[in-house]
Every structure is written in structure tokens, then in C-alpha cells.
Amino acid sequence: MDISRRKFLQIGAVASGSVVCAGVKPASARDLREPNPEWLGMLNDTTRCIGCKACQVACKKENKLPMESTLNESANVGRDVYDAPRGLSERTYTLIKMQQDEENEKTTFVKTQCMHCSEPACASACIVGALKKQDNGAVAYDSGLCMGCRYCMVACPFNVPQFEWQNAIPSIKKCTLCRETKLKEGKPTACSSVCPAGAISFGKRSDLIKLARKRIEKDPELYQDHIYGEKEVGGTGVLYLARPKMQFASLGLPAFKYRTVAGLTESIQHRIFQYFIPPIAVYSVLGGIMYRNQSRKKNGGEEGGSHE
């Protein structure tokens, strides 16, 4: 009797546990969605960028962002500071960073901004859907919906979304692909339209990939045969070209896998709550155990768990 009761408890625990497992175990990345050829994006050619930061100025003007200073920051950081500001912030949506390859010590200017991913992790993570991939390709943010939980900042593999730490009522700030301004007037993004070196090309993502291919084919001496962002994290709206024998990671563009960042969480969520089968199964198992124990108590008039 005693043994069977304990067995019963264990079986119950294992059964309910395995129901949950069944939902979790086969979690693998779901199939990638094909990027829409109509989506707009940008191609940043790091071989052309001269580091003049005209794009930064244009971005600040377009979005009416205040200036930031890195004066005296070298003392805090303990080394020379070449970037101003040092990283993206709630006041800086795009930034030219000077990257130095550790091996050949060559320096490259790399533009950073929101990548406008095909499968944005931020949009997958956002609890209220305040971040959404638009039909024109921009990943847009709706400050009216946002609760300010900052889960998008955790989710973004490029650390793009920024938070207004100094505001009593803070919002997320990031590059908008000039969705509300330039794009509405049918013009290219502010940063791309001012670049004097032709390093930033604006257009449909599909066209930009063709353009990048053409550049690589035409001048294989100058270009590495890889378009960063074509496949990384499921594809990004902003693409990069680089010199040969240069690690993209050393340009601040990590070697991310080709599957989407949110693939694992989405498939786990999906499996646990598909048709509510696992929760209902756990509920039924527990209900059955409870019913059995209570009816036994009624019949036998015996208190449970009197062993040991």
C-alpha cells in the first residue's frame, strides 16, 4: 500500500513533467521567412567610408536630436577616444565608429544604426507589439504602446534600441529609417543622401544585394566576397561590404548564425501553448490524481501519507 502510494506520487510527478518536456525538447529554429523584395534598406560600403560623419550630422538634424560630447572621456576610459559619441544612445541613432583590425592594424570606418532585420528579435520580444516590421521594411517603434520593459534591448543582438534613462517618462529610441520624414516624401534616408563618398546606398533590399554583388564581381581585389546581413540573423535590411581578409567581427559586426535570433524562444512558446494541449494535459493529470486521492479518503476514511 505504502509503496504503491509513493510510486503513484512519483509517476504523477514524472508524467506531468514529461508533458512539459514534450513541449520543450524538440525546440529548434523554425523555417526562415523569405525577406520581402520590396523592403527598403541601405548598403554600407566600408571600403568607401572616409569617416567624415556627415551622416551623423544629417541624422541629428532630421530627428532633431541634441548633441553629445566625449570631451574628457579618454581620462575615464583610459585610452584615446576617436568616436564621438562612443556608442549609440537615446540621442544618437547612427554613428561612425573607427574599428581597428587587431591583426593587420588597418583601420576602417563602420556606420552603426538599426539593422532593420527581416526577422527582428526586438519585435518578437516586445510584449505589446510596440516594435513592428513595416511593409516598407523599417522596424518601427510605437511609443504610445510601449510599456518601457526594455526586453527589446536584451533581445537585439546588435544592441540597437536605447532607453531614455534621464527621462521621467522614458521611451525607446532608435533609427527609424526616416520612415516618418524622408520616406513619406519619397526621398532616401537622411544619412544616405548626404554621404559625400557614396558609401551609403539606399534602395530596395533586393536591389542593394544585386548592387553589392556587382561591386564584388567588378573589383574582387577591393572587396571581400561576402555581403554581411544577407543571411545573418535571418537577414537584415542594412547590409555591409568590407575589404578582403578582414574579419567582419573586427568591424563590430559579429559572425552571427544565419537563423533568426528569436527562433528558439518562439518555438518553445509555440509548442508549450499550441492549442493549449500541454496545460490542459497537466490539468487533467493533476485533476485525476486529486479525484483519486479524495475518493479514496472518503471510502477508506483514511488520512493520506501516513507512511514512514
Binding site: 505589446v128 510599456m147 508549450i272 496545460p279 490524481i289
Partner: protein, 392 residues
């Protein structure tokens, strides 16, 4: 079976004044957070958007409130009636715990006044969406599970002063109705509470899987939801033992060593399951070596693992379970293990890029301590005026 009764002690003891002091100092920092922004109080930054308020107040808060559903499951579902005395305090602490989790989320949200958006604007792909719904529903269920204590205390005794006396009858009617309905439906809520707990305890483990390139290999595993669930189940009884031991000392009650020692026999079962899954997962993914590379994360993992493993082996021995102090220390070790595990997943194991560091500010600590103090304060209030603890 003994009956539960309110303690009816003198409420404002020096300890309670200490709690009020902590709550007050937290409130001062909270004022700045709400009116001058996070930057005026916290050390949060672009690379560490989640700080101690999420890692401790929310992640640990939810895990440590697991005593509610584990005790309810053991007693009500698996029919182990002899542990009946432990259910009410566990359910009350779980309710207080989840209430504080909700409050902590409110403090941590930039646009706290939009908190209701989680109910209206749905994004099914978001892990947080699931966590929010489960926590909310479970808080409701816990509220309902606590009603019988209120009914028992006040039914037939409602006697409001002065003008309010006209509400005596409706209040009585309400209590009677609640008593009547809950007597027949409580089983439904008890099971719902367990299922909802399974849901969000595991989903909290899914949360940081959104960041495969930031979370350390030792914690980034598809099994994370199951590990979070099993570790929460493992810490349920240790929390009950921890609280009961403290209540014994602080309220000068007779120790319940025998009962606690008896129920503690289940802990190795749960802990063993967790440790097996944890080791199996690490070995299967081949990342065990990283635990010994001397890095902060590796060392933090080793400490975390020891905090789980040592009490597992200790509590298997009946003699240790029967020793009140050793039992308390073992329970405390499991609690610390879970706390460190949540910190590892949410903070220590998160490499958010170079040039950024995070250590909680004084203000963040003050607010967290204020929440803890508020929790103890509410518990004190509960056991003093409601029939939670059994008469001795």
C-alpha cells in the same frame, strides 16, 4: 488537526519599526525614479537594461514564491493531509510574493501607466506576454485561495463601526456567498494554481533565450524552461521550512521540527531531478569544461551548483533532516542556489558587450530591500489578524 488562529500579538514591535524604516528609505529613492528618471537612481545602462529589480525582485521573487503551489500540490492534490498546517502560511506568502513581483514590475517599467497594455495588446511570440498573463492569473488564484481564511475570521462577526454599520449585512451576505461558492470550487482553483505556476515558472526560463549571443553557454540551453521549473519546485519546500523556522523564532512559537523534517524528505527527490537534468544537459551540450575555466561565470556556476548539490546529499539523511538547525541551513542553501541561478541567467551570465559594467546602485538596493521589508510586513499583518498559523 489543530485549528488555525490569528496570533493577535502586539503589532508595532521594534522589528516592525525596522521594516518601516526600510520601506521609507526605499520610497525616497522610488520618488526620484518616478520623477527624475532611472538615471537618477539606478546604474542601468545601454548594455544592462535589466538590473537587480528584474533579476531579484521579479525572477527570484517568482521562484521563491513557489512554496505556495508545491505545498498546495502535495497536500491538496496528492492528499498528504498531515502537512495541512503548512498550506495556509505557504499560500499567504505566495500571494504576498506575487503581489510584490507585480509591484516590482510596476516600478521597473518605464511607462508604468501602460501596464494594462499587456492585457489588451497581444503579441503571442513574446515570452513576456506569457509570463505576464500567467503571473496575473495566478495572483488572482492566490487571492481566491486566501479568501477562506478571511471568511473563517469574519463570517458571522462583521461589526463595522458607526456609519459603516449599514454595510454589515451586505458584507455578511458576501462572505456567506464566497464561502458557499469556494467550498464547491476550491479544487478547480488549486489545480489551476499549479498549472499556471508550471506555465510562468518555465517561461521565465525561456526569457533570456532570446539572447543567444549574450547569455553564457552554461545557461543558454533549450532545456532552460524545464530547469527553471524543476528548480522552482525544488525551492518550494525549502522556502516553507525557512519561513516556518523564522516564524518559530520571531513569534516565539513551539518548533514544528517533526513536521518540517518529515516533509523535507521530498526535497532530495525534487533536487535530484533538477541536478540530473542540469548535469545531463551540460554534458550533452559539451560545455561542462567552461565551468572550470576560472572565469567569473565559471566560478559563479560552481558556487551555484554546490548550493544545490550539498543540501541534496545532506537532506537524504534522516538524521540531518531531524536537526532543526541543519535542516534550516540546508533549506537556506537551496534558496541561495536558486537566487544565484537567477542572477547568473539574468545578470552575471549576460555578456552584453565590452566597455559596459553593472553593479546595483545604493538606490536599487534600497528599493529592493524596501520590497522585502514590505513583504515581511504584510506577512506579519496577515498572521496577526487572520487564521493562518495553527494554534499550539
Amino acid at each position: 488537526m489543530n485549528k488555525a488562529a490569528p496570533l493577535q500579538l502586539n503589532f508595532f514591535t521594534p522589528n516592525v519599526w525596522l521594516l518601516i524604516f526600510f520601506m521609507g528609505s526605499g520610497a525616497v529613492f522610488a520618488f526620484f525614479r518616478f520623477f527624475y528618471g532611472f538615471g537618477s537612481v539606478t546604474n542601468l545602462n545601454a548594455a544592462y537594461p535589466f538590473g537587480i529589480w528584474i533579476a531579484f525582485d521579479v525572477a527570484c521573487g517568482v521562484a521563491l514564491a513557489a512554496g505556495g503551489f508545491t505545498t498546495a500540490a502535495i497536500v491538496e492534490i496528492f492528499g498528504r493531509d498531515k502537512y495541512h498546517a503548512l498550506v495556509r502560511p505557504a499560500i499567504l506568502t505566495a500571494f504576498i510574493g506575487y503581489f510584490l513581483v507585480g509591484l516590482a514590475v510596476f516600478f521597473d517599467l518605464g511607462k508604468y501607466y501602460n501596464i494594462w497594455h499587456a492585457l489588451v495588446y497581444w503579441n503571442g511570440t513574446s515570452v513576456l506576454f506569457e509570463v505576464a498573463w500567467c503571473v496575473m492569473l495566478y495572483l488572482t488564484v492566490l487571492g481566491i485561495e486566501n479568501i477562506p481564511a478571511v471568511v473563517e475570521q469574519f463570517k458571522g462577526k462583521v461589526n463595522l463601526p458607526g456609519q459603516l454599520a449599514s454595510f454589515n449585512k451586505p458584507s455578511e451576505w458576501l462572505l456567506g456567498k464566497a464561502d458557499n461558492i469556494l467550498n464547491r470550487t476550491m479544487a478547480f482553483f488549486v489545480i489551476a494554481g499549479v498549472v499556471l505556476s508550471f506555465g510562468h515558472q518555465s517561461s521565465l526560463g525561456t526569457m533570456m533565450l532570446i539572447a543567444p549571443y549574450k547569455l553564457h553557454d552554461l545557461w543558454y540551453t533549450p532545456l532552460s524552461p524545464l530547469l527553471f521549473l524543476t528548480s522552482a519546485v525544488s525551492v518550494g519546500l525549502p522556502m516553507v521550512i525557512f519561513e516556518a523556522s523564522l516564524a518559530t523564532v520571531l513569534f516565539k512559537r513551539k518548533p514544528e521540527t517533526e513536521l518540517l523534517a518529515d516533509i523535507a524528505k521530498y526535497i532530495p527527490l525534487f533536487l535530484g531531478t533538477y541536478l540530473l537534468l542540469r548535469i545531463g544537459d551540460l554534458a550533452y551540450r559539451g560545455v561542462l569544461a567552461q565551468a572550470f575555466d576560472g572565469s567569473v561565470q565559471g566560478n559563479s556556476f560552481l558556487v551555484e551548483f554546490a548550493l544545490f548539490a550539498v543540501p541534496y546529499f545532506m537532506l537524504k539523511r534522516r538524521k540531518i533532516r531531524r536537526d532543526a538547525l541543519k535542516l534550516f541551513l540546508c533549506a537556506f542553501s537551496v534558496i541561495l542556489g536558486v537566487v544565484l541561478n537567477r542572477f547568473n541567467v539574468f545578470l552575471i551570465g549576460m555578456d552584453m558587450g565590452p566597455e559596459f559594467n553593472y553593479f546595483p546602485s545604493v538606490g536599487e538596493f534600497a528599493v529592493t530591500f524596501a520590497f522585502l521589508a514590505f513583504g515581511v510586513f504584510l506577512y506579519r499583518l496577515g498572521v496577526n489578524y487572520l487564521p493562518i498559523l495553527e494554534e499550539q
